[in-house]
C-alpha cells in the first residue's frame, strides 16, 4: 500500500502524527544524550542504543493504551519512551539515582514502569516473551481486555523461549503480539549466518500464528500491522508475529568496533532509510508539518533532554540502607 493510502486508511489526526514524530525525535535525542553522558564517564556499566529503530518503538506502541502492556529487551530505551515512561526518571535511573524508575537499582537494562504498562526491559535475551505470555494470560483469565506486545530482536528468535512462548500463546489463544525488531544482527552474528530461513516471519506458521514482514523504518506500516494485530487479539483471535525490518546505527553496546559489517552498509541505512527523515517527508508532503516546525520539534526534544539530565544530576544517590530493601514483598 502506498504511503498516501495508508495515511488515509489509518485515520490519524494531525496531533497524533506530530506527537509520534516528536516521540521518535525524543528517542533519538535521548540516545545521543546518553552517548555523551557515557563518554563523559557519567554512566557506568553498559547500555544498548536504539538509534535507527525509532519507528518500530513508536509505531508499535501507538495502537496501545495505558492498560496494554509491553515487555522489552536490553535495547529498551525507545520502547519505554514510546510507551509513555517518564524520561526524567529514565535518565535518573541510568545515572543510578534514587529518583530513577527503579530507585537506581535497575539501570539501563531493567527500566520498568507499571503505571504505563511497561513490564520492564530485560537483560536476558528472549526472556520477555514468556513473561508477556503470562501477562496476556492474566488479561484473559481476569477478562481485563488488555493486550501485551513483546519486543525482541532477531537474535532472540533462536532461543528456546521464543519457540515455546509462541506455541503456548497460540494454543491458549492469548491476546499477545510478538514484535520482532529485525535489525539484521545479534551482537556480531548476522541473521544470514545465524538462521537458514528467508525471514523470521516464517517461524510463526509452525505455531499456527499469523505473521508478516514489514518495513520497520516506515512508521505507518508499523502502525498498520500493529493495529491489525491488536484488533485480532482483542477479538479473541490470539497472537500475531510481526517482523519489522530495521537497522541499529550504533554498535551492539558501547564497546563494539562493528568489524562484522561494512561502513557502506551503515551509510546506506543512515542515508536512504532514516526512519525519522522518512516520516518527516510523509508529513511534509501531506502538509501536516513544515520545515520550521520540524526544527522546532527537534529543539523542543533537545530541551526536554537537557531538563531530564539536570533533573537526574540534581538527584541523590540511593542511601546505603536501600541495599537490603525490596528483596521480598
Amino acid at each position: 500500500m502506498s504511503n498516501e493510502l495508508l495515511f488515509q486508511e489509518l485515520g490519524l489526526d494531525n496531533q497524533d502524527l506530530k506527537k509520534m514524530l516528536y516521540d521518535m525525535i525524543l528517542i533519538r535525542k535521548f540516545e545521543e544524550t546518553l552517548k555523551q553522558l557515557y563518554q563523559q564517564g557519567k554512566i557506568h556499566g553498559t547500555m544498548h542504543l536504539c538509534i535507527g529503530q525509532e519507528a518500530t518503538a513508536v509505531g508499535a506502541c501507538f495502537p496501545l493504551n495505558n492498560e496494554d502492556k509491553i515487555t522489552s529487551t536490553h535495547r529498551g530505551h525507545g520502547h519505554s519512551i514510546a510507551k509513555g515512561t517518564d524520561v526524567n526518571k529514565m535518565v535518573a535511573e541510568l545515572l543510578g539515582k534514587v529518583t530513577g524508575h527503579c530507585k537506581g537499582k535497575g539501570g539501563s537494562m531493567h527500566i520498568a514502569d507499571m503505571k504505563v504498562g511497561n513490564l520492564g526491559a530485560n537483560g536476558i535475551v528472549a526472556a520477555g516473551l514468556p513473561l508477556g505470555v503470562g501477562a496476556a494470560l492474566t488479561s484473559k483469565m481476569k477478562e481485563l481486555g488488555y493486550v501485551v506486545l513483546c519486543f525482541f530482536g532477531d537474535g532472540a528468535t533462536n532461543e528456546g523461549a521464543f519457540h515455546e512462548s509462541l506455541n503456548l500463546a497460540s494454543i491458549w489463544k492469548l491476546p499477545i503480539i510478538f514484535f520482532c525488531e529485525n535489525n539484521l544482527y545479534g551482537m556480531s552474528g548476522s541473521i544470514k549466518e545465524m538462521t537458514n530461513i528467508e525471514s523470521i516471519a516464517v517461524r510463526g506458521s509452525s505455531y499456527g500464528i499469523p505473521s508478516e514482514t514489514i518495513n520497520g523504518n516506515n512508521i505507518l506500516e508499523v502502525i498498520k500491522a500493529t493495529q491489525d494485530a491488536v484488533e485480532r487479539a482483542k477479538q479473541g483471535n490470539g497472537p500475531t508475529l510481526i517482523e519489522a525490518e530495521t537497522y541499529r546505527w550504533e554498535g551492539h553496546s558501547r564497546s563494539d568496533a562493528r568489524k562484522y559489517r561494512t561502513r557502506e552498509e551503515e551509510k546506506e541505512w543512515k542515508k536512504a532509510k532514516d526512519p525519522i527523515d522518512a516520516f518527516k517527508e510523509i508529513l511534509v508532503s501531506n502538509n501536516v508539518i513544515n520545515e520550521n516546525e520540524f526544527i522546532e520539534l527537534n529543539e523542543k526534544a533537545q530541551n526536554q533532554m537537557k531538563e531530564a539530565v539536570e533533573y537526574a544530576e540534581k538527584s541523590d544517590d540511593p542511601s546505603l540502607d536501600t541495599l537490603m530493601t525490596d528483596i521480598y514483598a
Partner: protein, 326 residues
C-alpha cells in the same frame, strides 16, 4: 482427626485456596485428567475446569516465564514442575526473573507464585529424576524455599506459600506422597520461617530436612533404647530459616548432627553447620558438629546402590553413637 496422605494434603491446600481466591490457578504438564505424574492434582480439573487447572505443553522455559508474567500482573499461579530435576530448564525464569523482579524494579513489582517440585530419590528413577537441588535455590536472594516432611506440614505450609507475595519453591518428596498423617479438614496455615521440634530430647540435636526428618525420628526412637535422648528439629522452610530454634536446641544439647538427602558437598546442611559455628551456640558444643548427606555421585538406578547413596536410619543411629563417645 482424620488421616490423609501427604499428596492429598497438598491437593487439599490448593483446593481450599482456589475456592477462596479466584486469582489462584494451577498450571503444569499432565495435571488434568492424568492428575500429574504423581496424582497430586487428580480430580481438580473436575471441580475447577481447564481454565484454572491449565494443562501445558512440555515447555518448562515457557510455563515458568508465564507463571512469572501472570504473577506480576495480578494472578497467583501455582506451577507444577513434573520432576524437580526439570527445573533446570526453567532456571532463567526463577533465578533471573522471579527472584530479581522486585529488587530490580525498585519495589514496584511483586511475584506471588509457587513452584511445586517433586524431588528426592528412592523410587528407582535414577540420576535425572531423583535429585535434591533445593540448596541451589537457597543461594538466590528473592526466593523462599519450603521443604515439608509430613502431611500436616505440607498442607499448612503450602497454604502460606500460596498466600505469600514472593516466589516460593515448594519441595515435595516423592517418597512421602503416600505417607499418611493427621491433617485437620479445616483451613490452617503454617507460617514460613518457623521450625518444628519433631521430637524433644536433651543429649543430641539432629537438624534434618525433608525426608530425612522421618529417618531422624525413627533413629531417635531406637537410640532411646541405648539411653540417648535425641531432639529432632525440622526447619520446614530453608528460606526464611528459623535460626533461633536451631541455636536454642544446640545450646540445650551441646551435640549436633545435621542430616540431609542432597549431595553432602554444598548441600543446605553445610549452611546450618556454618550458622552454628558462627554463633554463640558454638561455645556450648561438647563435640565437633557432624554432617550426614548424600554421596558425591549422581543417584544410581540399582536399588541397593540407590539406598547407599543417601543417609539411612542406621547411618543416623551410628553417627549419634559416635557423637556421644566424643
Amino acid at each position: 482427626m482424620r488421616e490423609i496422605s501427604y499428596s492429598e494434603a497438598i491437593k487439599e491446600a490448593m483446593t481450599q485456596v482456589m475456592r477462596e481466591d479466584n486469582d489462584v490457578f494451577i498450571m503444569g504438564e499432565d495435571i488434568g485428567v492424568y492428575g500429574g505424574a504423581f496424582g497430586v492434582t487428580s480430580g481438580m480439573i473436575d471441580e475447577f475446569g481447564p481454565e484454572r487447572v491449565r494443562i501445558t505443553p512440555i515447555s518448562e522455559a515457557a510455563i515458568s516465564g508465564c507463571a512469572v508474567g501472570s504473577a506480576m500482573t495480578g494472578m497467583r499461579p501455582i506451577l507444577e514442575i513434573q520432576f524437580s530435576d526439570f527445573v533446570v530448564i526453567a532456571m532463567d525464569n526463577i533465578v533471573n526473573q522471579a527472584a530479581k523482579m522486585r529488587y530490580m524494579f525498585g519495589g514496584k513489582a511483586k511475584v506471588p507464585m509457587v513452584v511445586r517440585l517433586p524431588a528426592g530419590s528412592g523410587a528407582g528413577f535414577a540420576a535425572q529424576h531423583s535429585q535434591s537441588l533445593e540448596a541451589w535455590m537457597t543461594h538466590i536472594p528473592g526466593l523462599k524455599v519450603v521443604q515439608p516432611s509430613n502431611a500436616y506440614d505440607a498442607k499448612g505450609l503450602l497454604k502460606a506459600a500460596i498466600k505469600d507475595d514472593n516466589p516460593v519453591l515448594f519441595y515435595e518428596h516423592k517418597m512421602l506422597y503416600n505417607l499418611k498423617g493427621d491433617v485437620p479438614e479445616e483451613s490452617y496455615e503454617i507460617p514460613l520461617g518457623v521450625a518444628d521440634i519433631k521430637r524433644e530430647g536433651k543429649d543430641i540435636t539432629i537438624i534434618a530436612t525433608g525426608m530425612m526428618v522421618n529417618h531422624a525420628v525413627e533413629a531417635a526412637q531406637k537410640l532411646e533404647q541405648e539411653g540417648i535422648d535425641v531432639e529432632v528439629i525440622d526447619p520446614r522452610t530453608l528460606v526464611p530459616l528459623d535460626e533461633k530454634a536451631i541455636l536454642e536446641s544446640v545450646k540445650k544439647t551441646g551435640r549436633v548432627l545435621v542430616v540431609y538427602e542432597a549431595v553432602k558437598r554444598g548441600g543446605f546442611g553445610t549452611e546450618i553447620v556454618s550458622l552454628i559455628a558462627e554463633s554463640d551456640a558454638f561455645d556450648y558444643l561438647d563435640a565437633p558438629i557432624l554432617r550426614l548427606g548424600g554421596v558425591e555421585a549422581p543417584i544410581p538406578y540399582n536399588p541397593k546402590l540407590e539406598k547407599a547413596a543417601i543417609p539411612q536410619v542406621s547411618d543416623i543411629y551410628q553417627k549419634c553413637l559416635e557423637l556421644m563417645n566424643k
